[in-house]
């Protein structure tokens, strides 16, 4: 069979078959397409302000390594004038994180970007190795994830950076869309497909942007510039650019819902590679149909605070990693099945006693809400904050990246006809000041548990603001 010729330059031999459109291209053309697609995502969503300080959540894995390399390249090429820094979290997992941090350090040197490492040990007084020694191998993902979310925000605040970009890629987003459909969690589905999420204070800060507002760890924006990029292409980009990354993944298998969704996505990709981006597109479109008052408190009850807080706060549970589901048996699907059955039974018996909101729903809705809370407080956070990837682009050659404006979100909320009464109020943790719907945030609760068993250490949370 004669070799295919690159469809772009028509000169070189094609080496890459692109999953999004079956185009056959050579490596140099691929690199430039990939970069211009990410640039298109960024510019069509106005992701960055000129001169903005941006921290790249860097784990040393392929996604964040590619993200750092692409952003650096684009920043230089297009004169965006961004002030880029690498931000890594050291969970303190010997044999895993110490090696990947070496990769981050090399990247930092190669790209000439400053690197900040924040460690769990410094922030919380506990490394993950110590946590595991204390509580065992099961359920420690909860700790890891809850701690990571705050660690990134605290790290960003220390650097006075108000915007953290992560490497979530199209496969991750598609997986999260399917997972949240299975789990019945529409609010989180809608957040997962939003290219940028911000905390309330960040939203406020952006209104008065020109002020030299101090960045605190409660007003850091998150975005995912690679959310339209295929994982496969990220790997290819890293390969052809000869990027130095660390490819070991966390040792723990994903929890049941995510694992199930991941398998499904991989099978879909085999049948029709375009379907990954089609799922992402579907998710973005569905997000516009999500009744915002329902399911989660982010709607009606947070008027005084900025509305997206819940979203951002909650994101920790979106992550990829853990086996840890709150109920600790490691099977979130089984736990949810049980809960749904109990609720159905209670309804059938007509003796449901739990006092719930009188919403219009069949009981499923109440379940969702409960489940959400549970997940909210204790699901494992994403192990992959660092690891997500990129690759933007939609299914069509002309990319339009849908993004919901704040106005849209707000008006959507207002029109919601039956917003439930406030359930959670986004406030700040009374101990550490982090965003939380509870009096004491999850991290402080977890820390309290840990510290009880180690009385010599007091509750110790880094003071980020």
């Amino acid at each position: 069979m004669p070799p295919h010729i690159c469809e772009v330059c028509k000169v070189s031999r094609a080496q890459i078959l692109r999953p999004r459109n079956h185009a056959r291209v050579c490596a140099p053309c691929f690199i430039s397409l990939f970069e211009s697609e990410v640039a298109e995502t960024i510019s069509s969503t106005t992701l960055f302000q000129p001169g903005e300080r941006v921290a790249i959540g860097a784990s040393g894995g392929k996604d964040s390594t590619v993200l750092a390399s692409v952003l650096k390249t684009l920043n230089d090429r297009h004169g965006w004038n961004l002030d880029l820094v690498l931000l890594s979290v050291d969970e303190g997992i010997t044999g895993y994180r110490d090696h990947s941090l070496e990769a981050v350090k090399r990247n930092s040197a190669d790209l000439g970007l400053p690197l900040k490492i924040v460690s769990y040990e410094d922030l919380y007084g506990w490394s993950m190795d110590q946590v595991v020694a204390q509580i065992g191998k099961k359920g420690n993902c909860t700790y890891c994830g809850v701690f990571r979310r705050q660690a990134l925000d605290r790290g960003a605040a220390m650097l006075n950076v108000g915007h953290v970009v992560t490497g979530h890629n199209a496969d991750d987003v598609a997986e999260t869309v399917l997972m949240n459909l299975l789990r019945g969690d529409l609010p989180r589905l809608s957040r997962a497909t939003s290219i940028i999420t911000s905390t309330p204070s960040a939203a406020r800060a952006s209104v008065a942007r020109d002020e030299k507002a101090e960045v605190t760890f409660t007003n850091v924006k998150r975005s995912k510039p690679l959310m339209y990029a295929y994982e496969k292409e990220i790997v290819m980009y890293a390969h052809h650019k000869k990027l130095d990354y660390f490819s070991t993944e966390c040792l723990y298998s994903p929890e049941a819902f995510r694992g199930s969704a991941r398998t499904l996505i991989k099978n879909l990709e085999r049948i029709r590679p375009e379907s990954i981006l089609d799922v992402v597109r579907s998710g973005v479109d569905m997000a516009k149909l999500v009744p915002t008052g329902d399911g989660k408190s982010q709607g009606a009850c947070t008027k005084t605070k900025a509305p997206e807080v819940a979203a951002a706060d909650d994101e920790e549970a979106d992550g990829g990693c853990g086996t840890s589901n709150s109920k600790a048996d490691g099977n979130s699907m089984a736990a949810m099945e049980k809960k749904l059955q109990q609720d159905a039974q209670a309804e059938a018996d007509g003796n449901e006693t739990e006092v719930k909101l009188p919403s219009q729903s069949v009981n499923g809705q109440r379940h969702d809400r409960d489940h959400t809370h549970e997940a909210y407080s204790s699901l494992s956070p994403s192990a992959k904050f660092d690891g997500q990837d990129h690759d933007r682009h939609t299914t069509q050659p002309t990319t339009t990246v849908p993004i919901r404006t704040k106005q849209e979100k707000k008006s959507g909320r207002k029109t919601n006809r039956d917003a439930p009464a406030p359930k959670q109020r986004l406030g700040q943790c009374e101990r550490c000041g982090y965003l939380s719907s509870q009096a004491v945030c999850k991290a402080c609760v977890l820390l309290e548990g840990l510290n009880k068993a180690r009385p010599r250490t007091g509750v110790e949370v880094g003071d980020g603001g």
Binding site: S275, V279, V290, D349, G350
Partner: protein
Amino acid sequence: MPGRRGAAPTDFSLCRRCQSNDPTITVRTEPLCDACFCKYVATKVVKRMETFRVRHSEPGYERTLLLPLSFGAGSTTLLHLLSEHLKGQVEKTRRTGFKLHLLHIADGSRSTASPTVEALLEKVKQRYPEHSYSISHLSDALALEDVRTLLGNDSKDDESHSLEGSDSDKFERLIASVGSATSRADVFQLLKLKLIVHFAKSKDCEAILWGDSTTKLAERTLAETAKGRGFALPWTVADGESPHGMQLYYPMRELLSKEIASFASIVDPPLDELILRNEARVAVSTRNTTIDDLMKQYFESVERDYPSIVANVVRTTGKLQAASLSEIEKQCELCEMPLDGQAPERSRLCYGCIRALPQAAG
């Protein structure tokens, strides 16, 4: 029994509901006997037929509802249940809230009609002679005006063929031109739907009753998501008005596929001989697997271990809020879903349909 507070202590070795027979099947968490199980299934369906009760029908005018019969377990069981339901209405009130018209769409064209299907239809007619029956062929969809306009473009190229070719030839050509197994299945589905809706309108039917189970609706939710039609999800599982200009109802929406299969065997005489089994066509190679097949296999396993999660997917999808029908300005010419903002500019098709039929996108 719903609503009953146990006076006597429950005997866990007996059917949870009647407490007199041995249980034969476990539904969700309850062990039930055959009789109570059948009652459970019938109740779930009849409850969804509220709109069409006798008291809601005008005397002297009988509504006709179309039931598309694929000879699958779902539609056949629905036919059975509604037949029983109508008998009950007659006994109680001497009239019925509606009458049924059944329509089978045979794959392919008239010339390729399968003898199995004809034989099955005869058996069904014998068992339920009180309804009217029709059969139509998928290739008839090509005669529909909007399908002609939609597919008109590409036949310009080879006019000699399109002028002479019969509908079934054209149909074969159209299907052959569709790229992948998934797209072919998608186009089949959409043409079938168009044909059924067209038929329902031509017979002045008030609504179409589908035999889809919860499991089937969950499969469809994820399949449509994967095909890029997430924007249309509220319409794919909703009861009532639809963008097709016809009311659609899913009376079996609270039953799992496995429950329907059990019911079809338990009912006396069993429905099994009226049901066309096509398990055989689980494709081995990825090449011929469709997204629909994949979701079917996936939910078969989810249903086994986590039936409530299946039901929850459908409930969740039902919570998505669609724009009201009156706000729809433009619809996809193939799937008829609202196009607003969901398609490239000036496109006649939505993203999902462009994926399936890129040549018609123009």
